[in-house]
Symmetry: C2
Subunit: 287 residues, 2 copies
């Protein structure tokens, strides 16, 4: 349909510091949980940008970068409520109290969360609290880390020659360890691509349990540091070497880990289009 | 930091029919695989909008709506290459041939795919082909259906009181049936939220196999039709009633199905903030 006319679309996005603040009737407050994606502002959705531009208050997590907060109107309040392993941070209840307090005062509160709110983000608890308080809540989805990693590496998580399923787990339970009630034989499935969120500190335990559960130690693995930001670095190698790979990437930044035969395709790509820069050129495999 | 100044950000998005076509040096062609998200144009990322605005050729799937194609420059060629169950459609090889042919002619080709390209989208095969041909390829992730469903229903897929894991499978293998090599005892895990893509036609078989694998027939289930579009409708009920629910929603539109105890939270929400409109008010449970 080369000659078919398309009607023009105007995209007006309210951005930090631009134009007058939009007028809207003073009504009851509300909360929008917004997924900020993996860190790159370009991976915000249009809906997320609009929510940021109309917020009175933004409560944001530790990993949200300046490039994303630049979309917030300059007259809005931005409050860091970050939680990060091993550091002092707001308690979950305090964050929920802040949301309730500002919404009760008639404000549009944006709760800005890394990635997608509904994947390992405790949004479930925040929504329950808001509903109990009778406060309207809307959710804007975001690009979750697993999808950003797949795009960055140029590999399908469900390549149909390799994987029939993709599965996300957290590597960091409420006790800071691997969840203690996972079925490792069940997880050690060669036909599933397994993605582990926040898995840096527990990676050695993870690798040992998967191999103990029956997964081939040669299964391809990938670890990504600072996904979606300028400092993004990749390691890749066999599952047995994952602890060493994580050691090279360091634990200062959250790590995302993926394991599965579908990741073989990433290896094949290295000889062709240079869309992936690997960090592991200097890794010496000892095993 | 209420008084902290934020520098203005200008968002310039190239949109269908607006302004002059950007000049760029005539160089080698390239392909961008772009995730269109679930259907709502507001759920496109900024990066996706920019890719659409600079494409010379857009090869789009059947489910991509006008609202999304409106972002394509009016001088670009838009070609429908949709594949849809039970209808005549382009073959995968033909789509790949088109991408190669246009890229070889120096064009910027956008391959626009529903949801996220890397989840059940055969992007793996397309990337492999392009790399074999020496054509540069980039991937722009999109909001995959599971995340859009979670946002629409206002429920976390990984509520930590209910689910330690979330898992995506396809309900439609290359033979049009459920994949025949899935481990149903493994899938019947009450602590995992299971999301089934393209699961309408195989839903009765799916429910029977999960119950046969040991999953409680009372486990909460959700089916969503036309996710992200105006015709979006939800059904929810116990797993045992899923085939009846799918029957009510019909099979004209692709269905997304989710199963797991985390979906209980959606039920609780009904009495509070009205962010979810259920379709099942007139469903009579026979079981």
């Amino acid at each position: 349909m080369p000659a078919e006319p398309r009607k023009p679309v105007e995209v007006k996005l309210l951005t930090g510091g631009q134009g007058p603040r939009p007028k809207r009737p003073q009504g009851p407050g509300r909360v929008t949980l917004v997924g900020a994606g993996p860190g790159d502002p370009e991976l915000l959705t249009l809906k997320a940008v609009r929510a940021l531009g109309t917020a009175d208050v933004v409560l944001f997590d530790d990993l949200i970068g300046d490039g994303i907060l630049d979309f917030v109107h300059r007259k809005a309040r931005c409050l860091a409520v970050g939680k990060r392993g091993g550091r002092a941070s707001c308690k979950q209840g305090d964050i929920e109290d802040l949301m309730v307090q500002f919404a009760r005062a008639g404000k549009h509160v944006v709760r800005l969360k890394s990635g997608d709110p509904m994947i390992f983000g405790r949004a479930g608890e925040e929504i329950e609290r808001l509903r109990r308080e009778g406060i309207a809540v809307e959710v804007v989805p975001g690009i979750t880390a697993a999808l950003a990693m797949a795009a960055s590496l140029g590999l399908s998580l469900t390549h149909r020659d390799h994987a029939r399923s993709v599965r996300f787990i957290t590597g960091h339970s409420r006790h800071g360890t691997l969840p203690d009630d996972l079925d490792w034989r069940n997880l050690a499935d060669p036909a599933t691509t397994l993605v582990i969120y926040m898995g840096g500190r527990t990676a050695p335990d993870l690798a040992a349990r998967l191999v103990g559960g029956g997964l081939d130690p040669a299964t391809p693995a990938v670890a990504v540091r600072a996904l979606g930001r300028a400092a993004e670095r990749h390691w890749r190698g066999p599952l047995a070497q994952l602890p060493a790979g994580v050691g090279l990437l360091g634990l200062e930044e959250p790590l995302l880990i993926a394991i599965g035969t579908a990741l073989q395709a990433a290896g094949k790509a290295e000889d062709a289009a240079p869309i992936v820069q690997y960090f592991n050129q200097n890794i010496r495999y000892s095993g």
